[in-house]
């Protein structure tokens, strides 16, 4: 469904019963208020993806919702990329000149956009310093989508100077937050059940896409969808698959991207291919970032979805899989621990052996797989759909601008 045509009514059949009426009544309390989102990209990445859906639905609910995107040159985005990595704990070189350029780009954008609303939600570090130009009216909230638990000290000390000038901050998990003198709210991210990546598909559509990817569906498929990144532990997944393969005739699909624009991603992809060797039942797919339907089809075709990360942000691929009724085996890290209800929707594990054991256990108990799949779908319906996200943002608007 095109984002511009999105209405809240479209979600009535997928959201929990009563949710849409509840949202309509909640929105009554904030009708006519202005809610402005500011981030650094219109396309690509989870933030832009969800904003492209949230903003029109908020408008449909009577909120004056807008979304502005800051502009920057390649030097600015190189700086913010380094910043992003430093804030997530990777040692980076961030020079004074880079920081000065970052501030200058923020000043230029603040002048150009003149952000003003009852609630201005600034997403991530790129536009964070625009707070310097805030007008006296309206509340400003910094929405942090990244894991700030172990930042490089210097990068965080710089950013913190700006963050503490906001009225509040929003994090995706308590563990991702930092000590701050402003209120910090908790809002989980979400998936859109009507987006290409999650919409219903017919058996024919799924079969056609699997055919195009040359993946037969004659054996149970174990699937991991993730960027080729060491923290996603693709080699660990292959090793777990090998332990399972002695007992169950399965296929493994590792589907991801990030290898084209990231030298380390290319290296991890090469390592995964080498580890797969000549095993005809292992498929390592390097997919483009817009391969939403392929991912959807793979998740629907899978018997079990794996997310064996050793470090993870929120990891919404797990919610995507559970929405498709799949049991999930995932690493006990980051947002996976709030998405996977142990023994109810899947299992969190701490080792290759743990992953192999739980996959074998599930494959030996098909009725349990079905039951967990159903429980997972309901868990996502209540907690990780865009309708819950909308409810949280409306609550924030009501709470801060009452």
């Amino acid at each position: 469904m095109a984002a511009s045509a999105l209405t809240i009514e479209a979600y009535r059949e997928v959201a929990p019963r009563g949710t849409i009426d509840f949202l309509l009544r909640l929105a009554e309390r904030a009708r006519g208020r202005r809610f402005l989102h500011v981030n650094s990209t219109r396309f690509g990445g989870g933030v832009a993806e969800i904003l492209s859906r949230l903003v029109p639905i908020m408008g449909d609910l009577g909120i004056k919702a807008d979304w502005e995107v800051m502009e920057g040159d390649s030097e600015f985005f190189a700086t913010t990329k380094a910043f992003h990595n430093a804030l997530q704990g990777t040692e980076q070189v961030v020079t004074e000149a880079m920081l000065e350029h970052y501030l200058e780009v923020n000043r230029v954008n603040a002048e150009r956009l003149r952000p003003a609303a009852d609630l201005v939600l600034i997403h991530d570090p790129q536009p964070a310093a625009m707070i310097e130009s805030r007008p006296p009216e309206g509340k400003w909230v910094w929405r942090c989508h990244i894991d700030l638990s172990l930042p490089q000290r210097r990068a965080w000390a710089f950013l913190r100077r700006y963050v503490i000038r906001y009225d509040a901050a929003v994090f995706s998990l308590p563990a991702f937050a930092q000590q701050l003198p402003i209120p910090q709210f908790l809002v989980y991210p979400s998936i859109d059940p009507l987006a290409e990546k999650n919409r219903r598909m017919t058996r024919n559509e799924i079969a056609k896409i699997l055919g195009a990817l040359q993946i037969p569906d004659d054996k149970p498929i174990l699937l991991q969808v993730s960027r080729f990144d060491r923290f996603k532990d693709p080699i660990g997944v292959i090793n777990a698959y090998r332990m399972v393969k002695r007992y169950h005739d399965v296929r493994l699909v590792l589907a991801g991207g990030g290898a084209t624009d990231d030298p380390e991603g290319a290296q991890v992809l090469a390592e995964a291919r080498e580890a797969a060797g000549r095993d005809p039942d292992i498929y390592v797919l390097d997919l483009p970032s817009n391969a939403h339907l392929q991912i959807n089809a793979l998740q629907r075709a899978a018997a079990i979805v794996i997310q064996k990360s050793t470090r993870e942000g929120f990891g919404l691929t797990v919610a995507e899989a559970m929405w498709k009724g799949k049991p999930v085996v995932g690493g006990a890290t980051g947002g996976l621990t709030v998405q996977i209800l142990y023994g109810v929707t899947g299992y969190t594990v701490n080792s290759v052996e743990g992953a192999a054991y739980r996959i074998r256990y599930l494959l030996s108990n098909p009725a349990l797989m079905r039951k967990m799949g159903e429980a997972g779908r309901e868990h996502v319906r209540r907690n990780f759909l865009i309708t819950r996200h909308l409810r949280d943002y409306l609550s924030l608007l009501v709470h801060l601008t009452a």
Binding site: D21, F22, R25, P174, T337, L341, H379, S395, V398, H399
Partner: protein, 224 residues
């Protein structure tokens, strides 16, 4: 005769606030519990019912769950889980009891149990935002119909939130049935329903049974 004021059903949602307090061992848990805002004590012991429609942890109490599943101290988990938060006259009294249990437990332990592989305990509090449901009742029959269909958060708001944080010790449901309809014995029975081990749907089911009995042979419309 003056018509009773209608009962207006409100639902609610909670906006969660991270307090920046985190405990890695049982002593830290106790110390932070002593100084955390009462709203946080409430969040971790009462509003569990609003968040978890599927009870997946061992206990309906975040403190007990954390020590049992993350610290892996089953004994303290059980001792905290048995504390019924609805049996205390105030949140302060509940806090004192929880602190006293942890204090007594760790006094005999060296070293104090701590998280090794699990997650710290993060203190959170919530801001409950009330939302009208559009449902109103003037008679017991209408009330029964609305109760059967209303969102579970409405039960939370009128039966739990109102008792603990809005100064209505019997809850809104019992107050209205007793005061507006004059049905004292039903009001008393409703006020006695303890949600600790059954959750919101158990409150609803028990109230519906009581109301059906009060309504006699009338076949009530609506679900339940």
């Amino acid at each position: 005769m003056v018509e009773p004021a209608p009962f207006v059903f409100f639902g609610c949602i909670e906006l969660r606030e991270i307090l920046g307090l985190r405990a890695r061992d049982e002593r830290e848990l106790m110390e932070l519990l002593e100084r955390a805002p009462l709203g946080s004590v409430y969040y971790h012991t009462h509003s569990v019912f609003l968040r978890h429609h599927q009870i997946t942890g061992a206990y309906p109490n975040d403190f007990a769950n954390w020590v049992a599943s993350q610290v892996r101290d089953q004994v303290l988990g059980e001792r905290l889980a048995v504390v019924d938060p609805f049996a205390f006259p105030s949140l302060e009294a509940l806090r004192e009891e929880l602190v006293s249990i942890i204090d007594h437990h760790i006094a005999a332990l060296h070293p104090v149990p701590r998280v090794v592989f699990g997650d710290p305990f993060f203190f959170v509090q919530s801001h409950v935002i009330e939302v009208p449901t559009g449902l109103e009742a003037c008679t017991l029959g209408e009330f029964r119909r609305c109760l059967a269909e209303v969102d579970a958060s409405s039960i939370y708001f009128h039966a739990l939130e109102s008792r603990v944080r809005r100064g209505h010790p019997h809850g809104d449901f019992a107050d209205w049935i007793g005061q507006a309809l004059g049905l004292q014995s039903q009001a008393e029975e409703i006020a006695r329903i303890n949600p600790y081990l059954g959750g919101l749907e158990e409150i609803r089911a028990r109230m519906l049974r009581l109301l059906d009995a009060a309504l006699g042979g009338e076949a009530p419309a609506g679900g339940g």
